[in-house]
Amino acid sequence: MRFRQFAFNNIRRNTFTYIAYFLSSSFAVMTFFTYLVFVFHPDILKTPIGLPASYGMKVAACITFIFSFLFVLYSISAFLKARLKEFGILTILGAHRKQLNYLIFLENMFIGTASVITGMFCGLLFSKLFLLFGENVLDLKLPMYVPMNAVWITIAAFMGLFLILSFMTTIFIRQRKALEMVQGSRRPKKEPKASIWLALLSVVSLILAPILVSQDGFIYISLALLFDMIGVYFFFTQLFVVIIRLLKKNRRYSWQGLNLLWITELAYKMKDSARMFFMITIVATMACTTAGSVLAIQRYIEYTYTENPFAYTVHHYNSDIDTKTNKKIIPVAEKLEQTLKREGITYQKFRLNTVDIRFKHLGYLDLIRQSEYQEIAKTLSCPNVSLQDREALFIPSNLDPLMESTDTLTQLSFVNQKLSSKIEKLKIKHQYTESLLQRENLVVVNDQTYDQILKALSSDPYTISQRDQYLIPKWNDQILPDVNSIEVQMGAELSSWEKTFFDHDKVALDGYIMSRAEDYYSMKQVTSLTIFIGVFIVAIFSIFIASFLYFKLFIDLQHDQRYYHELSKMGLSQKEMRKAATKQIAFLFYIPLFFSGIQTLVALSALNPLFPVATSTISTGLRAIGIFTAIQTVYFLIVRSRYLAQLKRVMV
C-alpha cells in the first residue's frame, strides 16, 4: 500500500469523522459560489444601480470569503483535534513528522478538491433559487447563465485556501508532543483561570463605552469602540470565569439541583473558545447595526415619498443665465403638463418664489410669501394664520430635523447685518412641523414683509428660486408605488426625456423636474440591493455561528457523553440531563447575542442624530436584532435536539 493510498483509504473508511469537515467546507464553497454567480450576473451590471452597487457587492464578496476562511480554518482545527489520538498512535509507531505532514496535506487536498466540486455543484442548483429571490427583491429579470467567471474565481480562491490551510495545519500538529496526542482530548482540563484585575477592567470598559458613545466627537466614538472591544474581550476570557467562580462560591445557589452540573461545564466551554465568542459578538453587532441603519434609511426614503404632498416639482433656472447662450429654450413645465393631460390626470399647480435667508442658530431657511402659502394651505388644509408685519409662521420640515429644538423659539434673528438693522427680527406667531417642500424649512411672512426683506437685500446678490409644485390628489393615497405604477413610469419617462437634452448644443431646458416617485424608486432599488446583500451576509454569518457552536459541542461530545454516562449511572434522569444540557447550550447561543443586542442598541442610539431620519434607528435596530435572534433560535433548537439525541444514547 502506498502512502497516497493510505491517505485516501483513511478518508474513505473514516467517513464519519471527515463528514462534518467536508460538509462545512462544501457549504462555504457553495455560499461563496452562489454569491459570485449573482455578482457577475451580466444583467445586474446593465441596470442603473449596477455600477455603484458592484463595488459594494465586491466588498461583500471579500467579507464572505473571509468568513469562509475562518469557518474552514475552524472546522479544520476542530477536525484535527478530534483525530489527535490517531496522529499520536502513528507517531508512536514511528511515523516521521514529514510523513505525518504529508498525510495531513494529502487528506486536506482530497477533501478540499471534493468539497470545491460538491460545493460548486450545489451552488449551481442553489443559485437559480437565489437569482429568483433577487428578481423579486430588485424588480429585475435575472435569467440563469453560464457563470464561468464565478467558477474560475471560486476554484482559484478555495484551492488556494485549502493549500494554505494544509500548510498551516502541519504547523498546528508540529507543536504537539506525542504523549499529548495519544491522550487526545481525554486529558482532564485545567480549571479555567482568570485575573480579577482584567475582569475589573472589563467591567469598567463596559461601563465606560456607552458613556463615551453618548458624547459628541469622533475621538469619543473611537474611544468608545476601543473600550467596548476591550470590555467584551475580557468579558469572555476573564469576567465570565470570575462570574462563574462567584456563582460557585454562593453554594446556596450552586449546590442546588442541577446548577452544579451546568455552571461548571459552562465555564469550561466558554473559556475554551472565548476568542471565538468575542468575534461572534463583534461581527453580530456590526451586522445588526448595519442592518438597523439600512432599514432606517429605507424607512426614511419611504417617508420622503409619503410626506411629500406634491407629486412633481419643477425648478426653474434663473432666467438671466440662459438668455446669454443662443440656445432654444424648452419649457419643462409645459412638457410635464402635456404628459399629465395625455394620461388624463388632473392636477393643481402652485407657484412658489422662495428666498434662502440665513438665520442665527438655524442656518438657511426658505422665506415664502403668505399669499402663495395660503393657496397651498387651503388645499392641503394646513393651519392658516393671519400675519402682521414682522411676524412669521415657522414650518420646520420633519424630514430634516434641525439640530436644536425649536419648540420654545419665539423669534428668528437674521445673520445679515442689513436685515437685522432694517427689519430687526421676525416674531414667530405660530409653528408646526410639516414637509411642504421636502427637506426645506419654511418661514412664511406677509407679502409686505417679504418685499421689505427683498428690498433690504437688493444690493446683495440673492436669488429667488421659482418653482411649480404639482399636486395630484389621485396619487396622494399614502401607498408606496411599485415599478408598474403610472407615477413611477411617468417619472422615469420624464427623466429620460430630460436626459436627451443634456449637453445639447442647440436646445436647453428652462428648469428640471423632480418626481417624488422616481426619486423614491431609484433610492429604493439601492437600499433593496443593500438589504439583499446584507441579508445574504447575515444569513451566512448566522449559519457560520451556528455551525461553529455545533462543532464546539460535537468536539466535546465524547467528553460530554462520558460525563453524562457517569452521572446517569449515579441516577441522573433523562429529564434532568435535558434540562442541564439545554441550559448550557442556551447560554452558549444567547450570551453573544445578548451582548451584540445591547451593543447594537447603544451604537444605533449614538448614530441616531447623525441620520437625517424622522424615524428612530432604535426601532429598526430592534427589528434587526429580533430577526437575528429568531434565526439563531431555529439553529439553537436544531443543534439542541441533535446534541440531546447523542447524549440520550449514553443514558442508562
Binding site: P188, W255, L260, T264, L567, G571, S573, E576
Partner: protein
Amino acid sequence: MGMLEIQKLSKIYNGKVSTRALNNIDLTIEQGEFVGIMGASGSGKTTLLNMVSTIDTPSSGKILINNQNPHQMKKNQLAQFRRRQLGFVFQDFNLLDTLTIAENIVLPLTLEKKSLKEMDEKLKAVAEKLGIVEILNKRTYEVSGGQRQRAAIARATIHSPVLLLADEPTGALDSKSSRNVMEMMEKINQTDGTTMMLVTHDPLAASYCHRVVFIKDGELYNEIHRGQNRQEFFQEIIDMLSFLGGNAHELSAVRV
C-alpha cells in the same frame, strides 16, 4: 427476605452468535452483609453487577432490591431509585474532573435538592470518616488514586444507600492504597451497616468480605464464608481461584 434477592437470573446477548452471559443465577444478600463476587475474566461477574445496578436489563429472572423490582420501573423513576437507594464505586473512580472533590461528593445530594446545612453536615461526617478532609477543595487530578477512590466511596455513601455496589474498586490502585480503600469499605459496612456487593478479581480485596461467591461461565460455582481470620480467608480464596482457573501463579501472592 434479603436486601438483595436474585432469582433465576439469566442474560443472553443476542448477536450473530448468541452468548449466554449468565445462566440461572440465584443469590441472596442479607441486610448488612458484605459479599464479594469473583470469577475469571468473561465469567459474567460484571454482567451480574450491571443487572443489579439496573444499568442492564435481564433476559429472564428477577432482581429485588429492598423488595422493589427496579426493572419494572419507568426510566425517570429508575434514575431516582438509583440515586436514592444505590451507591456506586467504580474501578476508574468516575469522578467528574470539572468539579472539586467536595462538589463531587455532594453531587447526589444536590440532585435531591437537600438543604445546604444538611449537605455540609453529611459532607463533614463522611469526609472525616474516610480521612479526606484536607483534599476536599482540590481537583480530582491533583490527588492520588487512593484518595480519589476514597472520594468516590464518600460520594457513593453520602446519601446512605441501602446497597453499595463496587466494581473492581482496587483495580487501578497500588497495594497500599487498595488495603486502605478496603479498610474504609469494611469500616462503613461495620459502622453504618450498609449492605455491599463487591465485584473483583483481587483476592486481597475479596478477603475483606464476609462471603465470596464464585462465578464460572455464567453460573454460580461455589461460595466460601469468612471465619475469624482474614489471612486464612485470603488463602482459601487463592486456593479456590487456582482451582477454578488453574494458574495459581497468575494470582499474585505478592500482595500478602
